[in-house]
């Protein structure tokens, strides 16, 4: 049994729902107090069940945990009921630019949060409007950043490539300006827009889309700018300055144990998968809100690969052998040969990783690898 080092807390409230967003959150905050009570109960339950907590990273995400600073304090209190936070290396809170005020920053300091993930998404007004990100302007974004940048808080920003009406001149003007002005911005997540179930965009009949070639152009320009500021890609959608990787997310990608609390949060603890339903009502009642199942070996291997290969460093083949007691080269002979030939994968210093080309086709690579795994299972291993 390995230790549990990562704690995620899902705060399921937002002031208004963005049209692209399919994450679980609701706009009505009336139940936030009951949510906090349920959260405490849930943490207590796991605290009693597992003895192997050594929490190193905390991530409070959502929804919008910056929405109500008092609730953020409450969440922190609940965490402190069970854990002493001396050994915490990274404590991240997701923030919306509008909510980052002086007072809010005081609270961040009070709870000893040392990292924020700021959702910017776009610098184009029309895009933000189409996405229903109410109230956000480049002024509010820059205000928030300058307040944060004065403190010793690491800043990560979220951007989305592919949102309708994005004006690239604006996007990159402000990106460059921001990176020049705020040196604590040391981490960027750049996601391609996905049309997720549960989002408004998903139900749009005539959703405006950015063409593939435009998205390509965006990515190229993006790279050019962040290069100048010393950012490197270290994961499919994540870029950072030296040594500024997200430790919390690395936990997922390296397929470590993690505990996720709150509606819609998931946990993996020693091959047990727990999935909270995206239903606040059930969560508050405390009954029937988690699906649990044990991951079989095939599923574990699949997940290990699909997470690990997202990192540009790839997966360590010794680790693979130690964890699954299987020889990688024997199991994945066919798919390795194919994808090495296609220049999608390389093996170097006992690491298997994607190439600059391959990282864009990770899903097809994984499907090839899974195919090999299937035949292994078929032949009765």
């Amino acid at each position: 049994m390995s230790s549990i080092n990562h704690l995620y807390i899902h705060y399921p409230f937002c002031s208004s729902k963005c049209n692209y967003c399919g994450f679980y959150s609701i706009e009505n905050h009336e139940l936030s107090n009951k949510y906090l009570l349920a959260l405490e109960n849930e943490l207590k339950y796991y605290f009693n069940m597992y003895k192997n907590f050594e929490i190193e990273t905390i991530y409070i995400g959502g929804g919008n945990p910056s929405l109500n600073p008092e609730n953020l304090k409450e969440i922190n209190k609940i965490i402190n009921l069970f854990f002493t936070l001396n050994s915490i290396k990274e404590y991240t809170v997701e923030c919306n630019p509008l909510n980052v005020t002086k007072n809010f920053i005081e609270i961040l300091k009070e709870i000893s949060c040392n990292r924020v993930s700021l959702g910017i998404q776009s610098f184009t007004e029309k895009t933000l409007k189409y996405a229903n990100r109410l109230g956000q302007t480049n002024e509010t974004v820059f205000n928030a950043l300058s307040l944060l940048n004065k403190e010793k808080i690491s800043i990560s920003i979220d951007l989305i490539n592919g949102l309708p009406y994005a004006d690239f001149d604006k996007e990159f003007y402000y990106l460059e300006k921001l990176l020049g002005e705020f040196e604590n911005v040391n981490h960027i997540s750049l996601y391609d827009l996905s049309i997720d179930k549960g989002s408004k965009f998903y139900d749009y009949k005539n959703l405006k889309m950015l063409s593939e070639s435009k998205k390509d152009k965006y990515e190229k320009q993006f790279r050019k700018i962040i290069d100048k500021f010393g950012f490197k890609r270290y994961e499919v959608s994540n870029y950072c300055k030296k040594n500024k990787m997200s430790l919390h997310n690395l936990g997922y990608w390296k397929y470590n144990n993690y505990l996720g609390l709150g509606p819609s949060a998931h946990s993996t603890i020693d091959n047990l998968r727990m999935e909270n339903k995206p239903e606040l009502d059930k969560y508050i009642l405390g009954i029937d809100f988690t699906d649990k199942y044990v991951l079989n070996k095939k599923q574990q291997i699949e997940e290990y690969l699909l997470m690990g290969l997202r990192l540009t460093e790839g997966i360590n083949l010794n680790n693979f052998f130690n964890r699954f007691n299987l020889d990688f080269f024997t199991v994945f002979k066919m798919s390795l040969e194919k994808n090495i030939r296609l220049k999608n994968l390389v093996i170097k210093n006992n690491y298997l990783h994607t190439t600059n080309r391959g990282i864009n086709f990770l899903n097809s690579i994984l499907v090839d690898l899974f195919d090999d795994l299937d035949s292994l299972v078929e032949y009765g291993y």
Binding site: S194, E302, N344, N363
Partner: protein
């Protein structure tokens, strides 16, 4: 015996056979209202969905006549589409009479005539019914005129009916009882029964559909199937009364089913005669004319390891579809499969759909082809229906293709467009006559290959559904043939090759390449798609590479969702065929078979 009547309902497609059959069935109360559903004899899913009859179906109706006696009427509903003429002619062999329906608003159409001729060949008593008289557009007088003029029947004998409204039902029953002769065989004679159909029942095994012409048959009887020379013991006989209903015995004149523990499907030959193995009949019944396939196509299972299941499925389907013909085939692109012969494109579609629905197969089909006659320079002549077997053009002296004689009946206002269509399809007109002031009958000789492509769809759309069409196969005529190859990423895909008329090659190549571009998803590499004749590229399309295939965000530890997504993608890949590095979905193979210019 005197109380038995065996009859079919025949008509042009959509003139209301299945609906009228419903009313006849309901009149005899053999099914409760609760269990009843419209078009009840159309029991295949595909029949119900498309609203057409594909299979003939028998049902026994006990009818209490006005003379107070109960008659056992065997009703056989039949399909109307040209492809299934064979199915109709087999059904007629078990009958002494036929109801010929004529739609009161449409009048006599091409299959009305064709089916009438089939019935006359069998010397059946014909009862003519003008149907759908409830329609506001019904024109009974003109229908009567056409019956007299086109069919040569006195209009006084015509019965007026509406299957929908239940009008004229008793008149029809009475005419059957009075006019259709009872069957003539004798129970005490040596057993002679005709196998006119069969099907595979999951629980009971092979079920034979038989008409007893002479003698009788009951459980325990030793029987001989004369053509296949195989002997069995009868396990059960009975009637079709929507469900199979067990009986002690079947006697001369009756129609019913026979179960005899038949394991070897290849013993069953539709048209074979069942006799007693103790005292066999000296001669079998005349049986059926062998049907010749009109189009050929190869079937491959999407998953190579489904080949065995496909073999089994074809065997069982063949029991219920005597006109299906198949033999082993191999493609370097698609592996093992079967070369099949069909009676037409609808038949091909029906076979494909039945294999997929009833036997859960997932299939790839190759472009349908007619059979060509090819004369080689060395003096020999070969028949080729599969592009794979097309000889080196240098060895070919000349080629011939099959022609049909097409009879088209249409309102005169569509004459122009339809004649243009026929010319475009390389047709030669041999006759044109006005049936009355409004309707014209034209006769064309057309290459069969043009008909199986998209002729029927175009005919229907150009005439807004008013042109009706029937055809018979003629002989071969000289043609200029080329083999069109399709290259995907520079590799020829044998399963996509087709034999085409030389002047059509460029057009077809373009269409096929466009279809493939539409249906092959983008992949990691740019995919050139080319059409080529004899190494010369005549059309080209390119599928550009996709930008990415990777899930952008992976947030909050929701790993299972990603795993499931990939599982799905993996399942999708299983439905693809790998041609070199290119994954081609089943839908792409099927799409090139269709032309949708309309």
């Amino acid at each position: 015996m005197n109380n038995i009547r065996n009859f079919s309902i025949i008509a042009h497609i959509d003139h209301g056979k299945s609906t009228l059959a419903d009313r006849l069935i309901q009149h005899c109360n053999i099914i409760s209202d609760r269990e009843f559903q419209d078009q009840i004899l159309d029991s295949l899913d595909i029949e119900r969905e498309r609203g057409i009859t594909i299979k003939s179906n028998a049902v026994l109706l006990p009818y209490k006549a006005r003379d107070g006696k109960i008659y056992n009427l065997n009703l056989i509903d039949t399909p109307g589409h040209v492809d299934f003429t064979y199915e109709v002619s087999r059904s007629l062999k078990s009958c002494e009479g036929a109801l010929l329906l004529v739609d009161a608003s449409q009048g006599v159409e091409a299959q009305t005539l064709a089916n009438l001729y089939l019935a006359l060949e069998q010397n059946l008593e014909i009862i003519i019914v003008i149907n759908k008289i409830d329609l506001p557009s019904a024109d009974i007088e003109s229908a009567k005129k056409q019956i007299e003029h086109d069919l040569g029947f006195p209009k006084e004998d015509v019965i007026l009916a509406s299957g929908k409204e239940g009008i004229g039902i008793e008149d029809i029953f009475e005419a059957i009882v009075k006019r259709v002769p009872p069957p003539s065989g004798k129970p005490e004679n040596i057993l002679k029964a005709l196998i006119f159909d069969s099907h595979y029942d999951e629980f009971r095994g092979v079920v034979l559909h038989i008409r007893i012409f002479e003698g009788e048959i009951k459980a325990g009887d030793p029987i001989l199937l004369m053509y296949s020379n195989s002997a069995y013991i009868v396990e059960e006989v009975g009637y079709f009364k929507l469900k199979m209903e067990k009986k002690n015995k079947l006697v001369a004149g009756e129609v019913g089913y026979l179960i005899a523990g038949i394991k070897n499907i290849t013993d069953i030959q539709i048209g074979d005669t069942v006799t007693s193995s103790k005292t066999p009949a000296p001669e079998p019944l005349p049986g059926f004319k062998e049907v010749k396939p009109v189009v050929y196509s190869s079937l491959y299972p999407v998953a190579a390891d489904d080949y065995i299941s496909l073999t089994d499925a074809l065997g069982k389907l063949k029991l219920n579809d005597a006109s299906l013909i198949y033999s082993k085939d191999f493609s370097s692109a698609l592996g093992f499969g079967f070369r099949c012969g069909f009676l037409g494109l609808l038949h091909l579609e029906v076979v494909q759909e039945r294999l997929e629905r009833e036997f859960d197969m997932s299939l790839i089909l190759t472009a349908p082809s007619v059979q060509y006659k090819i004369k080689l320079k060395n003096g020999t002549t070969i028949m080729v229906d599969n592009p794979v077997n097309y000889p080196d053009p240098l060895l070919i002296e000349s080629a011939e293709e099959p022609y049909i004689k097409a009879t088209i009946i249409l309102p005169k206002e569509y004459l122009g467009p339809i004649m243009n269509l026929c010319i475009e399809k390389r047709g030669v007109q041999t006759d044109l006559k006005f049936l009355d002031e409004r309707r014209v009958e034209i006769i064309y000789e057309l290459p069969l290959a043009e008909i199986i492509y998209d002729f029927y769809d175009k005919l229907k759309s150009l005439s807004r559904g008013y042109a009706s069409f029937d055809y018979e196969i003629m002989d071969f005529k000289a043609t200029e043939l080329v083999k069109l190859d399709i290259l995907v990423s520079g590799k020829p895909v044998d399963a996509l090759s087709m034999l085409v008329y030389k002047d059509n090659a460029r057009h077809r190549a373009k269409k096929v390449c466009e279809k493939l571009r539409e249906f092959i998803p983008r992949q990691q590499f740019q995919i050139p798609i080319q059409g080529a004749v004899g190494g010369q590229i005549i059309s080209r399309e390119t599928i550009s590479a996709y930008r990415k295939d990777v899930t952008a965000k992976c947030y909050g530890g929701d790993i299972s969702r990603k795993r499931k997504l990939l599982e799905k993608q993996k399942e999708g890949k299983k439905r693809m065929k790998m041609i070199g590095n290119v994954e081609i979905p089943q839908t792409a193979f099927l799409a090139v078979l269709k032309s949708d210019e309309n």
